[in-house]
Symmetry: none
Subunit: 417 residues, 2 copies
């Protein structure tokens, strides 16, 4: 079996939760109708997962890093590099990367953080920025637009640091901020330099965009002009070993979120686009499932993430979250029918809880279940927080699960004699 077994990590983004009084004190997973995940739990090995550590709320980026075995406490230096990778910028160790919004300012006051969720014209605006601001001092400026108002910025040059304060005020009708070195920054000189470059970039981007034809046209249409770029989420790029080099499996990612896609790009995994995978409640979960089946024709490993459960959690909308979890379940149902479970192991989990009651990530553990090749059934018979906590796997950490998967798949090396 060894060498031709397949591994699948299937993540329902933010799928874990807390009991909800109106759902008879069930979580949304417990309340949802999930025959496929229940079969995974019933015939597989269950437990609970703390993506980072008990009680520590994880981001999607840090959770996926940990689940893939790259220790976030050691390697995470902000989301920027993943965002930049996710929009297709090549990021090199030492670069400092940012996600950005095109926004609308009057003077220094931010009147719309998303420039009216601008739909078109950002390619032209980005071209103008690249042409007019190729460098600031000895720092190269790399800038790419993404979907709607989103973009990414990479600074490349000597002596940069991500330890700088935000420019984006994260609320409208206040002035944007001057960036400065964070208190307690390890590399104060690098942070001072990076803050200077960012402040200069923001000012000059404003000058470039203010009277750009796209801006003039939007004003004429009564739309807020995208007349500034607000960078945030600074992150220093570090070297991470390629996924395939580390594990000896050829890996693909089928995910819907730029940030997670960026983690895959960063690890040099194949990131597979799926038509119909929207990242929203309307995503085509069966198209995603079919893409996974197809990916296994050319890959040993797939990490899949369906985003929509997280959205219902952030919106505090239990029914939407339940519907989303049932979408995840239908995708897994398709996989149960269409993969060869004698040589495939699946792990079904979430990257974190997004309880509807909290409308944000929490640090609660999430259910995890392993099914297929090599797994050991326990007495758990449904997939959910309470049920899986009684499973044979106990409480796992994100950093442990790749070893567990490789073991079930018969791909783990013996340590010792």
């Amino acid at each position: 079996m060894r060498g031709d077994t397949k591994l699948l990590i299937f993540i329902g983004d933010g799928m874990g939760g807390r009991p909800i009084a109106e759902l008879d004190s069930q979580t949304t997973i417990e309340a949802a109708n999930t025959p496929a995940m229940d079969r995974v739990a019933r015939e597989g090995s269950c437990g609970m997962l703390d993506p980072i550590a008990p009680g520590r709320p994880a981001g999607s980026d840090t959770a996926h890093m940990a689940i893939l075995g790259y220790e976030p406490e050691k390697y995470y230096r902000g989301r920027g590099p993943f965002e930049a990778k996710g929009v297709g910028i090549e990021v090199r160790p030492g670069d400092v990367a940012f996600r950005c919004n095109f926004a609308t300012v009057e003077g220094k006051m931010v009147v719309d953080r998303r420039a009216g969720r601008i739909k078109s014209g950002t390619v032209e605006l980005a071209d103008a920025i690249r042409e007019e601001i190729p460098k600031i001092g000895d720092v190269q400026i790399i800038f790419e637009p993404s979907v709607e108002h989103r973009a990414a910025l990479v600074l490349r040059g000597p002596g940069l640091s991500h330890e700088i304060s935000e420019v984006d005020p994260h609320e409208p009708d206040v002035d944007y901020f001057e960036s400065h070195a964070l208190e307690g920054a390890e590399d104060v000189a690098g942070a001072n330099k990076t803050a200077r470059v960012i402040n200069e970039f923001v000012k000059r981007a404003n000058e470039v965009l203010q009277d750009h034809p796209v801006s003039k046209q939007r004003r004429a249409q009564g739309l807020p002009p995208a007349n500034i770029v607000l960078p945030r989420g600074a992150g220093t790029a570090v070297h991470l070993e390629d996924f395939e080099q580390r594990y000896g499996v050829h890996g693909a990612m089928i995910v819907e979120v730029d940030l997670v896609r960026g983690v895959g790009e960063y690890l040099n995994m194949d990131v597979i686009h799926v038509d119909g995978a929207t990242g929203g409640q309307d995503t085509d979960e069966l198209a995603i499932a079919r893409a996974i089946v197809e990916a296994f024709e050319t890959h040993d490993f797939v990490l899949a993430n369906i985003k929509c459960p997280d959205l219902g959690g952030h919106d505090g909308d239990c029914q939407t979250k339940i519907d989303a979890i049932e979408k995840v379940d239908r995708a897994i149902g398709h996989l149960l029918e269409n993969l060869d479970w004698d040589c495939t192991t699946i792990m079904v989990t979430a990257d974190h809880c997004t309880p509807c009651s909290l409308m944000d990530h929490s640090g609660d553990s999430v259910p995890i279940a392993f099914f297929g090749n090599g797994t050991r059934p326990d007495d758990v018979d449904v997939y959910g927080e309470r049920a899986c906590s009684k499973g044979i796997m106990g409480n796992l950490r994100g950093m442990e699960v790749m070893n567990v998967m490789l073991n079930f798949a018969g791909r783990a090396e013996k340590f010792g004699a």
Copy 2:
């Protein structure tokens, strides 16, 4: 909710145990009538706690350090600094501190390690010591009496170390020891110097106390004179970050034991005195509970410890321990009635097991239950060792529980995006 949620850690000292044949193979917690703790378990999130690590018997000091998130493996250098803080001595990094007994010697032979549990006169004896022995060489002598025969000693000066052997023989009718550097001491020169100072201190204290009026009076009354001071539990003071600085919550401690109080003082928490809290079987548990409710008017965080379950364990007296556990339960019952559980999270646990069969601390895990704001009910319906081991929290370590508490209370920072 964030920012105005309250956190309560409630510790029944040494409350955990092992099954006892005469109790139908129940532990004392399982045998006790504990409606309040049972409700905490039934409506909350349960698990097991290893204060240090599986199988490692914890002291009250190391367990409380770990539960508060200060890694004992890294920062614990003996109990002395906590004892000294607990009796009100200011301890500075680099000091070496000791707990001491006033004792009775004839020549070098210890005839009573507690000088007949001397009740009065130790203030005058301590004054004499301070006056006669202000320094030994370049080392300042700081000495304070505590309750009954107890006292604390701090050595302050250059090049000291706690790595010295005991003076106190811990049994009567043998000579006390000369202290010397411990074999394998990291700082041999410092340990040699500290041992010399301690030996000199013990000798001179004996000279000062031998014919002190208090000693003469006790001899006249047929009582053993407190004619020597026996230091033990040497500990080097290290810098520990203030609790409030670390967690951003204003913390209080309501505890009965000097040693644990000393941990609170050391972390610069407010240590609240409660009339009627005796540390014994006769303690007023409702006074303690009322003090906790009151403390939350001005604090975000309280750690409470009721001592008496540990006493029954050390005495090997199951019924006394059961009675003590029921006292703990009554205090928690008062809290369930009188705190606002929509914005308060409680954690109920023990700092270690003190099994009656062992009459000492053991390294067995203890039950832990979280109740109130943010917690997730599981299927556990009573508080106890066997029941809680089936809970959703799995097996936690002391070092993890502050993160778990902060998460439930909505006060944890997200790590990642």
